[in-house]
């Protein structure tokens, strides 16, 4: 049975203190259909004055018994003894949050080891992705590597090839920085047309964490790196695929590239490369090599499988762009977003994420009419380099169809393109680096659909 509907101040009868599936659906259906007329009335009243609106909103749902049973009948948690400390040595989310999961997109890959799961962006707040909800991309399955047996090697154009244990790496001076990580193929299914229903599947190969580790340049200098000849580094994983990627020395000497062991205050999760991964801010996730076992310094790029067969962008002329690494400025509205239903007309806080692989977000504009007119959103602090930025903007939905979009700008002056602008230069077969403006159609029913415009 329903506990309460979601709308502030409008409460539902709820004889039991939990929400079951049928109950949720009932509330949801009632909110959509039965209650819409009332809401329309309340909305009209809102124009006359907010005090009147509040009174009307509260007056209507008061049950005959004289009040909301959730207030009149004290629930168990107000009248009983709660649970002891350390019921769970590592706490878990509320049982009511079990819908918030990372998920694969059906049919995207044929194996579960060379595959992807998407972060539930529609349910996240702020800028940090909970570590257990961080998107996954594995090339040959994940491992829980024994840190006492993990080694990190530096070789190539260095004076002395070196090996480090985890104990040694964790003794070195460390830094902690917030950065986004986005798969180069994020939103890749949408190049030609709408292919997925929700922001989880359209943009969910995106996460953001506080990473802790040692600047790679420190370890290279300990080995006596030759920075005159050494223009590139190769990062290599210790897992079955031994993933390799070429990274420019420019990013390494800037101190931005980290050999990281920490994520959001604890060690990396195994799915994220425990105990050691590379952090390459602003660059697509495939370069953030997990289970990092080796960095080699060289004078030429390597043309590895994941930079010569995959992660290459097909252009309309049949040429592939190679070594496309930077994730350009991009944004997406996460609430409301595809596959959701707005319960009523009235006020909403449109909220979303913006990021740029070239630097900081400077501005995000939001449109509710498909891009014809725009308003500038509020940027929530902190606004950090190569990091997710949360934006918010007020919106009063009048119950008519609306197309919600966001458009981000970064401190290089780059403006996020729409699909027409992006396809004009890259066609529709690129797979990678789709940073087009996302459109969500809010229908009169309150249902939100993923759409593209032309």
């Amino acid at each position: 049975m329903p506990q309460a509907d979601a709308s502030h101040g409008r409460l539902r009868k709820a004889p039991e203190g939990f929400v079951d599936r049928a109950g949720v659906q009932t509330v949801f259906e009632e909110a959509r259909h039965g209650r819409r007329d009332f809401i329309r009335g309340a909305f009209a009243a809102a124009l006359a004055g907010s005090a009147a609106t509040r009174a009307a909103a509260q007056a209507n749902p008061v049950p005959a018994e004289g009040g909301d049973p959730n207030i009149l009948n004290l629930p168990p948690w107000s009248t009983g003894l709660g649970q002891p400390v350390v019921t769970d040595g590592y706490g878990k989310p509320s049982q009511y949050e079990s819908n918030v999961q990372r998920r694969p997109s059906p049919g995207l890959t044929q194996t579960t080891q060379a595959s992807v799961s998407f972060a539930p962006l529609q349910s996240l707040f702020g800028i940090v992705t909970p570590s257990g909800l961080h998107f996954e991309r594995h090339h040959q399955g994940w491992w829980d590597v024994d840190p006492s047996r993990h080694r990190f090697m530096v070789n190539g154009l260095v004076k002395t090839p070196k090996v480090f244990t985890m104990d040694e790496i964790m003794r070195l001076p460390s830094v902690s920085r917030f950065h986004f990580i986005e798969c180069g193929a994020n939103t890749g299914m949408e190049w030609g047309n709408v292919a997925v229903p929700t922001v989880q599947y359209s943009h969910g190969m995106l996460s953001c964490s506080e990473f802790t580790g040692v600047p790679l340049i420190t370890l290279l200098e300990m080995a006596g790196v030759d920075l005159k000849k050494g223009k590139f580094v190769l990062a290599e994983g210790a897992d079955g695929s031994s993933m390799t990627r070429t990274i420019p020395m420019e990013l390494v000497t800037s101190g931005q590239v980290l050999v990281a062991y920490g994520q959001n205050g604890e060690m990396l999760r195994p799915e994220q490369g425990y105990p050691l991964r590379l952090v390459v801010p602003g660059v697509q996730g495939v370069s953030w090599v997990k289970y990092l076992r080796r960095v080699k310094v060289g004078d030429e790029p390597w043309n590895t499988k994941d930079e010569a067969v995959h992660y290459i962008d097909l252009m309309p002329d049949g040429q592939h762009r190679q070594y496309t690494s930077i994730q350009e400025c991009k944004s997406v509205v996460t609430t409301p977003s595809g596959g959701q239903v707005l319960l009523d007309k009235g006020f909403y806080n449109i909220s979303g994420l913006a990021w740029s692989g070239r630097g900081k977000i400077t501005r995000v504009d939001v449109s509710v009419d498909g891009g014809r007119n725009w308003r500038t959103a509020r940027l929530q602090t902190p606004v950090l380099d190569k990091c997710l930025t949360r934006f918010n903007i007020d919106w009063v939905w009048d119950g008519k169809p609306a197309i919600v979009q966001s458009r981000a700008m970064d401190d290089t002056g780059f403006v996020q393109p729409n699909y027409k602008q992006l396809r004009a230069v890259r066609g529709t077969r690129s797979i990678y680096h789709n940073n087009a403006i996302q459109s969500w159609l809010v229908q009169e029913s309150g249902e939100v659909k993923n759409v593209q415009l032309s």
Partner: protein
């Protein structure tokens, strides 16, 4: 006093002559790698073949290895689409001359094979060496990697059937790679100083128009209604509190199948979850053969034989379904029994 001053002076002098570099800035941390250690891990091969170990392998030998270790995923002719994208197809003799794969210009061509994309033969050698076969990476010898690479190249008509690939002739093979001229680094997405970086501007030059902007406003693409439930019930993929709910894409009336029911309620769903948890699905599909037979195929062949199947899961086997062996599995006995019972009852999806 004077001796300590001298000592200080000596120290300063030493610091001037031998500046304390980063190499000894963190005493006690890290050590020199031994030559054997570097050799064990230093396996990368570059386009200029730096790092390529000497050796050779023939197309013939490659075919033998292929059929026993590669074909189960990639197909006998590298054409299979069932586990990974096809390796072979879409290239022509003309491409070998031009170094541009012409089918890449055809939007109607279905998919892109590895040989259509890969510009460098070193990439194939390096990846086969480091990551193949899929379930036993790094198990091929150097000569076997040459042989498998030769066979793969032969499937694409890049080398003849009597060819033996070696470190001596691989540079000549590079000059026949169909897409060797198919890459461009002229773009603004490289974060270093090389290639076109700094000289090339981002290719989209959008402007931030604020009002009455001329933009497309017609909805030209959305998911067709028949696909609405392809991702399961979106209602269950959204939080149960907040400004929105997830859309109900599968009605919870019991008529539209197990997808809407919690997994724990359905024995089939529980068994399927166990096959995922225990890694069975790496080699077995629900219906079709991947590396091993599909669950439906097993169910058809061994209907009702739960005990036999439970034993097979634990002990592994070879020969019943072909030459690819199934290794013995270390999963809890209860899990094996539950999966076997589900298989014996028909391996139903719901």
């Amino acid at each position: 006093m004077s001796s300590s001053r001298n000592a200080l002076a000596a120290l300063l002098l030493a610091a001037c002559v031998l500046p304390a570099g980063a190499q000894d800035k963190f005493p006690g941390v890290g050590r020199a790698a031994t030559p054997a250690e570097v050799k064990a891990w230093d396996i990368d091969v570059r386009p200029d073949f730096k790092g390529l170990p000497p050796g050779s392998g023939s197309v013939d030998k490659g075919q033998d290895i292929w059929e026993s270790k590669c074909a189960s995923c990639h197909g006998v002719f590298g054409e299979s689409n069932s586990v990974f994208n096809p390796l072979v197809g879409g290239t022509t003799k003309d491409d070998i001359k031009t170094g541009h794969v012409a089918t890449l210009m055809r939007p109607d061509y279905p998919g892109r094979t590895t040989l259509m994309k890969v510009p460098t033969v070193s990439t194939l050698w390096d990846y086969i060496h480091r990551a193949m076969p899929w379930n036993a990476p790094k198990s091929l010898s150097v000569d076997e990697v040459y042989a498998v690479t030769a066979f793969l190249l032969n499937l694409g008509d890049i080398v003849p059937a009597d060819f033996t690939l070696s470190d001596k002739n691989i540079a000549e093979v590079q000059q026949r790679m169909p897409n060797r001229n198919g890459m461009s680094t002229q773009h603004a997405l490289w974060p270093g100083n090389e290639f076109g970086a700094g000289k090339i501007k981002p290719d989209t030059q959008a402007k931030a128009c604020m009002s009455n902007c001329e933009v497309p406003v017609d909805v030209s693409s959305k998911l067709p209604p028949h696909a609405s439930d392809a991702w399961g019930n979106l209602h269950d993929q959204n939080r149960l509190v907040g400004p929105q709910r997830g859309e109900v894409t599968i009605k919870d009336d019991g008529k539209t199948g197990a997808a809407a029911k919690p997994a724990a309620d359905a024995p089939a769903a529980a068994a399927i979850a166990l096959t995922q948890k225990n890694g069975c699905t790496a080699c077995h599909g629900m219906s079709a053969k991947l590396v091993g037979p599909g669950f439906a195929e097993i169910a058809a062949k061994h209907a009702g034989k739960a005990d036999y199947l439970a034993g097979k899961i634990v002990s592994g086997g070879q020969g019943v379904w072909g030459n690819v062996p199934m290794p013995a599995q270390t999963l809890p006995a209860d899990d094996a029994k539950a999966i076997a019972t589900w298989l014996a009852a028909g391996a139903k999806a719901k």
